[in-house]
Amino acid sequence: MELHQVQKIYFSQIEFLEYFKNENKLKIGEDILSLSKEIIVKIPNNLNVNTENIVDIDELKLSKEFISISSNSKYIDNKTSIIFSIILFIITTLFLTKTVVNYQTIDEYKKKIDYIQTAENNSLSKIQIKSIVKKYDKIYADQIKMRKLIAYLLNIQTKVNIKFQSIKYENKKLIIKMINNPKDTTLSSKIGSYIQKKYKNYKVKIVNNDLLVEVKI
């Protein structure tokens, strides 16, 4: 072949090099290739080529034997992966169900809180309610203290020979005047010792033979 007849030169890797043995030629589609001095040459179509020793690529049949190239890990095979996947899926489903249940529970609590807030607490804020409760508790404690003291003194009145002359309660101060007749000298100390245990600011004294009890509630 003359050099001027060479149109193009390609460089490539060829897997069919084996077929060029024994002066074979290779037919790919309509092109016929031959090996000349380690170079694959495409024979022009206008040249008459001996049809013997031509291997047609299209007529080649693939072998039934094959090697599978797997991308799997060498540590875990497909079967184990699937088993683990199933186990994980079950665990995921369980936790997901529990999460959904949790969300529902949270919603229920929110509704309950809203109901308490609007229906039972008259839409008052937490701070407002705490303040009201504190105020009522203080009033309640004061009322109980005052009533207990009066109950005690009324009880004394029935046991010993004394009578209430006046009872006055104003600005959380209770003033009781009792007529002590006949004079009981131990009465003031008896009342005093009782009041002392329960009240901080108090006065028990005898004024003009009358017993005067003053207690700051």
């Binding site: 991308s71 799997n72 890990s73 875990i76 497909n78 992966s81 699937i82 683990f84 996947s85 994980l88 899926f89 665990i91 995921t92 936790f95 997901l96 529990k98 999460t99 949790n102 969300y103 529970t105 949270i106 609590y109 929110k110 309950k112 809180i113 308490i116 807030q117 039972e120 607490n121 008052l124 937490k126 309610i129 705490k130 009201i132 409760v133 009522y136 508790d137 009033i139 309640y140 009322q143 005052m146 009533r147 009066i150 109950a151 209430f164 002359q165 006046s166 009872i167 006055k168 309660y169 104003e170």
Partner: protein, 128 residues
């Protein structure tokens, strides 16, 4: 397109499980907080109700004191309402009625702001 292998599915499963666990832990902590808040609200509500019920309400105070006076047949009582107070003044009251009135008033759920008992006079100021 790359083929999805069982190993890929396993990794996806691990990732999903991690996300679900994260979500679960968040909801768990939310449940604890909301339960605590609910208990607080509930107890506050009970306290508020109890506090309100410790004493008579505005209208109840007036009705109750009128009922007590009616029961004791005290007709000369002057009842005056001023702001958040209800004043009851009784001039000339017998000793027995005075004791009974005192007893009844002290056993009812009134807020006693002021009272003065002298001889046969009775003065009472209740909170509304």
């Amino acid at each position: 397109m790359k083929k999805i292998t069982p190993l890929n599915i396993l990794f996806i499963n691990i990732l999903v499980l991690f996300l679900v666990l994260l979500l679960y832990s968040y909801t768990n902590s939310d449940i604890k907080n909301i339960t605590k808040e609910y208990i607080e609200y509930k107890s506050l509500s009970v306290n508020y109700k109890n506090s309100k019920n410790s004493f008579y309400r505005k209208q109840e105070v007036e009705n109750k004191i009128k009922k007590i006076l009616r029961q004791l047949r005290i007709k000369n009582a002057i009842i005056k309402k001023s702001g958040k107070k209800l004043n009851i003044q009784i001039k000339k009251i017998s000793l027995s009625k005075k004791d009974k009135l005192l007893n009844k008033v002290f056993n009812e759920k009134f807020i006693i702001i002021k009272f003065k008992i002298e001889k046969n006079n009775f003065l009472l100021e209740l909170g509304l």
